[in-house]
C-alpha cells in the first residue's frame, strides 16, 4: 500500500531530525501521538501536534511517559497507527510498558532522541548511551528492533521504516536517534506519496468465535484481532497461551518467550540493514551507527589516504545485531573498531562475536558532543599496528 498524498510533504524541505521524524510518522499514516515534553525530543511532538488536526488524527500530551507509552498501545489496539517520542529519563519510564507492547505483540513506534546521562545528565547535548537499555531495558527476555538514523533525511525514512517493521512483526519498534541528529537541520527530500511503500496491519480473516489473538507460537506472525467487531478477545501482560488467556507455568513461558525471540531471530535476514563500504580487502573494519557513523568518515578518509585498508559498516539496524556478518569479518580482518558515543555498549556485542579471532577496539566517548575525527584516527593508527 502507498502513502496517502494528503499526509506527505513532497519536495525539498529544510528540516531538523526531529521535524523530519514527525513528517515520517505522518507520511506513514500515524494518527495518534501521546507524548510528554522532554528535551531534546519535544519538537517531534510539537510538529505532530501542529500538523495532525487537519489530517484526521489526535495528539495528546499525557501526564507522564508511563501514560504515553500505554496510551499508544491502547490506540494501536483500537486500530490507529501510534507513536511516542522521548529522551533520557523518559525512556526509562517508558521501559515498563515497552515490555507490555512486546508481550501483547502490539505495533507502535517509540523514538528516543538520546541525550547524555545517567539521570538528568545533559538534556541539550547528544549521547548514544541508551543502546543497551534499548536492548534490555524492560524486564524479562525478548528481542527488539532498533534503528539509528544519521541525518534528518534518515530520520524521515527510518521513522516510516519503523512503522512498517512494527506492523510486519507486530511489535513496538525503536528509533534510536540522538540530540545531534534531532537538532541538526539539513535538506530532507520527501518523495511523492506513491513512492512511499507502507505495510498495512494484517487482521484475521476468521470469523468471531473462531479466531484467537496469538495463533502463532513459533515465531510466525499471527494476524491481529480488531476491536469492536465481536471477537471479544482477551489479551494480558501475564504469560498467556494462543487464546490470550493467562497460563502461569514453565511450559507456557517457554512457548511465549521462545516465540517473542524467534519472531526476530527467524527473520534477521529480512530485518537487518547494514551498509558496507570497502570491506572486501579491508584489514580494519569500522563499525558504527547514527551520528557516529558519519563523524568517523573524515578519520577513515585520512587513514585510507595513508594506505591503511579501512572498511566500514554503518548499522542502520543496531538491534538485531548483524552477528553473522560481523563473525565472518572477524575471521578475515586484523581489527574491528566500534565507534559509539558511550564507553562500550554495542562494542560488547561486537567483541563477543569476534571471540578473539581479531583485535577489537572501542572508539568511545562520554557524550556531550560528537567524537573528534582526530581521536578516531588515532585509534585506527593503533589498530593498524
Amino acid at each position: 500500500m502507498k502513502a496517502d498524498p494528503r499526509n506527505v510533504l513532497t519536495g525539498a524541505n529544510y528540516l531538523d531530525g526531529n521535524h523530519a521524524s514527525a513528517e515520517g510518522a505522518i507520511a506513514a499514516g500515524c494518527k495518534f501521538f501521546a507524548g510528554y515534553p522532554i528535551t531534546p525530543s519535544t519538537e517531534i511532538a510539537e510538529r505532530f501536534a501542529r500538523r495532525i488536526p487537519l489530517l484526521g488524527g489526535v495528539f495528546i500530551q499525557m501526564e507522564d511517559e508511563l501514560a504515553s507509552m500505554n496510551a499508544i498501545l491502547g490506540a494501536s489496539w483500537g486500530g490507529l497507527k501510534s507513536m511516542t517520542c522521548t529522551s533520557g529519563p523518559g525512556f526509562s519510564l517508558m521501559m515498563e510498558n515497552f515490555g507490555l507492547g512486546i508481550m501483547l505483540e502490539t505495533p507502535t513506534v517509540l523514538v528516543n532522541v538520546q541525550r547524555g546521562g545517567p539521570s538528568t545528565g545533559l538534556p541539550t547535548l547528544p549521547g548514544q548511551a541508551d543502546m543497551m537499555q534499548a536492548r534490555w531495558g524492560s524486564h524479562g527476555d525478548y528481542e527488539v528492533i532498533a534503528l539509528a538514523p544519521d541525518s534528518p533525511q534518515e530520520s524521515f525514512e527510518l521513522t516510516i521504516h519503523a512503522f512498517n517493521l512494527s506492523e510486519k512483526y507486530r511489535m513496538p519498534v525503536l528509533v534510536m536517534t540522538d540530540e545531534c541528529v534531532g537538532h541538526m537541520t539539513e535538506k530532507v527530500i520527501i518523495p511523492p506519496a506513491e513512492e512511499i511503500e507502507l505495510v498495512e496491519r494484517k487482521y484475521t480473516d476468521k470469523k468471531p468465535g473462531e479466531a484467537w489473538p496469538y495463533e502463532s507460537t513459533n515465531g510466525d506472525i499471527a494476524p491481529m484481532l480488531p476491536v469492536g467487531k465481536g471477537y471479544k478477545f482477551h489479551v494480558t501482560g501475564l504469560t498467556h497461551d494462543y487464546r490470550g488467556y493467562p497460563v502461569i507455568n514453565a511450559e507456557a513461558q517457554k512457548l511465549k518467550v521462545k516465540h517473542l525471540v524467534d519472531k526476530i531471530n527467524k527473520n534477521v535476514d529480512d530485518i537487518i540493514w547494514i551498509e558496507e563500504k570497502d570491506t572486501d580487502d579491508a584489514e580494519i573494519v569500522m563499525l558504527s551507527y547514527g551520528i557516529s557513523s558519519r563523524v568517523m568518515q573524515p578519520a577513515i578518509a585520512r587513514a585510507r589516504k595513508e594506505g591503511i585498508k579501512v572498511g566500514q559498516i554503518k548499522m542502520v539496524t543496531v538491534w538485531p545485531f548483524a552477528e553473522k556478518r560481523i563473525a565472518e569479518l572477524a575471521g578475515k580482518v586484523k581489527s574491528l573498531i566500534m565507534v559509539e558515543m558511550n564507553y562500550g555498549q554495542v562494542f560488547l556485542e561486537m567483541d563477543r562475536i569476534a571471540r578473539g579471532r581479531c583485535k577489537t577496539y572501542l572508539a568511545g566517548h562520554a557524550g556531550g558532543t560528537v567524537h573528534k575525527p582526530e581521536d578516531i584516527y588515532q585509534i585506527i593508527k593503533e589498530a593498524a599496528k
Binding site: 531538523d16 528535551t39 545531534c180 541538526m184 537541520t185 539539513e186 568518515q297
Partner: protein, 187 residues
C-alpha cells in the same frame, strides 16, 4: 568544493536561529549545495547569549559542528565576546555597529559593520534586525547568490511578513554593496 563554516551569535529572541536557518536553506534548497545547521538549545536560546552554526559545502557535511568559523555574524556584544577568539585566521566578521564594539583581531581578519538596529528601526520593526544583518552578510561575504538568500527569506519568515522582511533584506544587502564599493575605492 570548499567548506564554509559560519557562526551567528546574538541574544535569544533576536532571531539568531532563523538567520542560520535561512542561510542554510539558501545553500541547500536554492543553491544546490549541502548545508548543516546546528544551534544552541535550552534556556540560553530563550534570553541570554545564543548561537547558530551553519556549515556549507559542495559535498555532504560529515562533521556537523563548526570548529573555527570562516564567517562570524555578531548581533550582540555578549555573543561577540564569547566567540571572537574561536575563529579562522582569515575570518570575515559581520557585526551590528550599534551593538558590538570591535576589539583587535589578526591581520587577515576582515570586519564589516552595519547599523542594523538603526536600519531595522527605520523600517518600523526592530524585530527585522536579523534579516538586515542577513542581507548585509550576503553582500559582503559573497558566498551565496542574492536570489537564493531572498528566496530563503521569503519561504522562512511568518506568512504576512514577507514584504517587510524582503525590504529589510534588501536594505542590508544594499548597505553591504555600498560599503564594499567604498572599501575597494579606498584600498
Amino acid at each position: 568544493m570548499a567548506v564554509t563554516e559560519i557562526r551567528i551569535t546574538g541574544f535569544g529572541g533576536q532571531g539568531v536561529i532563523l538567520c542560520g536557518y535561512i542561510i542554510g536553506k539558501a545553500a541547500s534548497i536554492f543553491n544546490d549545495q549541502h548545508s548543516t545547521l546546528t544551534q544552541s538549545f535550552g534556556p540560553e536560546a530563550r534570553g541570554s547569549a545564543c548561537s547558530a552554526q551553519v556549515i556549507i559545502s559542495g559535498e555532504r557535511v560529515l562533521y556537523p559542528y563548526v570548529t573555527a568559523p570562516d564567517i562570524l555574524i555578531a548581533m550582540s556584544k555578549d555573543g561577540y565576546l564569547t566567540h571572537k577568539d574561536k575563529i579562522a585566521e582569515d575570518c570575515i566578521i559581520v557585526y551590528d555597529k550599534d551593538l558590538v564594539k570591535l576589539e583587535k583581531h589578526g591581520p587577515k581578519v576582515k570586519t564589516y559593520g552595519v547599523p542594523a538596529t538603526r536600519i531595522a528601526e527605520e523600517l518600523g520593526r526592530k524585530i527585522v534586525l536579523n534579516i538586515v544583518m542577513l542581507g548585509f552578510f550576503g553582500a559582503v561575504s559573497e558566498i551565496l547568490p542574492r536570489e537564493a538568500l531572498r528566496k530563503a527569506v521569503e519561504t522562512s519568515v511568518p506568512s504576512g511578513t514577507e514584504g517587510l522582511n524582503l525590504k529589510a533584506f534588501d536594505k542590508g544587502f544594499e548597505y553591504g554593496l555600498s560599503l564594499k564599493k567604498e572599501t575597494v575605492a579606498t584600498a
